[in-house]
């Protein structure tokens, strides 16, 4: 188990493994996104209540879901880097933050654009939307905190602690539509029972959700690999790698 753990956390090994994974993630995410978006925009019938504005669901829900899952990944990486001082975990924390921030931004913006024709307003200060705004500020805070330190080890520790403390916001976002009265509609996809969304509308949504998850993985690997090359630039394997190409 420990041998496995150490092998996994070795930047060199991770660089090689991610290199073989990268093209797969790219192809799956692009294919799922293109098919899912075309299907959702052109072939699914409009919602009987919301009309065509509901088509924003195919980007809004995946962006929000991956923004939250990405935060959990980042907080977990923060915990691993705090407890075991694993460099790779610190790199994942640093690289995941800007992707998560961008996806949270997308969830907020597409939500606002969807809200205007549906609720008659761009923005309401209700529990769901406000807690996602807090998520956005957490991401921005982690990026800013990381940049604020000259000592990168201290930067990693401080950001990891902020990421862990902020993780309390994730269950709040998730259950906000049930705990408080809200304009925001509750979840349409259920893992335990029957989903309240029609299968015809659900299928492209599952595709775009898959596409966004793979996209996150793709961009995260690209960023982490850059970070590895930068931090390991004085090692022999990076030297051999650079000179061999």
């Amino acid at each position: 188990m420990w041998a496995w753990f150490h092998k996994w956390s070795s930047p060199r090994w991770f660089y090689q493994l991610s290199g073989t994974l990268l093209p797969w993630l790219a192809v799956i995410s692009l294919a799922a996104l293109i098919v899912g978006v075309a299907w959702g925009l052109m072939f699914v019938p409009p919602d009987y209540k919301q009309g065509n504005s509901f088509r924003i669901i195919y980007i809004h829900v995946p962006a929000a879901a991956v923004a939250m899952a990405g935060y959990l990944l980042m907080a977990t990486a923060g915990a691993i880097s705090l407890i075991w001082r694993i460099k790779l975990a610190d790199m994942v924390l640093k690289c995941a933050a800007p992707i998560g921030a961008a996806l949270t931004f997308l969830a907020l913006v597409t939500g606002a654009i969807w809200g205007k024709p549906t609720w008659g307003t761009w923005w309401v200060w209700d529990a769901r939307i406000t807690s996602v705004l807090v998520l956005f500020f957490l991401y921005i805070g982690i990026i800013a905190l990381y940049e604020a330190f000259d000592n990168k080890e201290a930067a990693g520790r401080a950001s990891a602690i902020l990421a862990l403390v902020g993780a309390v916001n994730i269950p709040i976002i998730y259950w906000s539509v049930e705990w408080w009265y809200s304009l925001h509609q509750p979840a349409s996809i259920s893992f335990t029972g029957e989903s309240s969304i029609h299968p015809q509308m659900l299928r492209p949504l599952l595709l775009t959700i898959t596409g966004f998850y793979c996209f996150f993985g793709w961009v995260l690997l690209l960023k982490v690999r850059n970070e590895i090359l930068h931090r390991e630039r004085s090692t022999r394997w990076v030297r051999d790698l650079i000179l061999s190409r």
Partner: protein
């Protein structure tokens, strides 16, 4: 296809501007997300080559 013509697809019964704006912003953001590390990598490889040449004194 649900829509009969391209004009109908663009108009989406009046919801077109909202839907297309949301998709446009998303598309631009995703392109930026993936382009940024790719550009950074090219720059980094160039700098690393220079760095290695200097440190090796070659």
């Amino acid at each position: 296809m649900y829509f009969e013509t391209v004009a109908e697809l663009l108009a989406m019964d009046g919801h077109g501007p909202y839907v297309w704006a949301a998709y446009g912003i998303t598309f631009a953001t995703l392109v930026w997300l993936v382009a940024q590390p790719l550009v950074a990598k090219r720059r980094q490889l160039r700098e690393l080559r220079g760095f290695l040449r200097r440190t090796e004194g070659a």
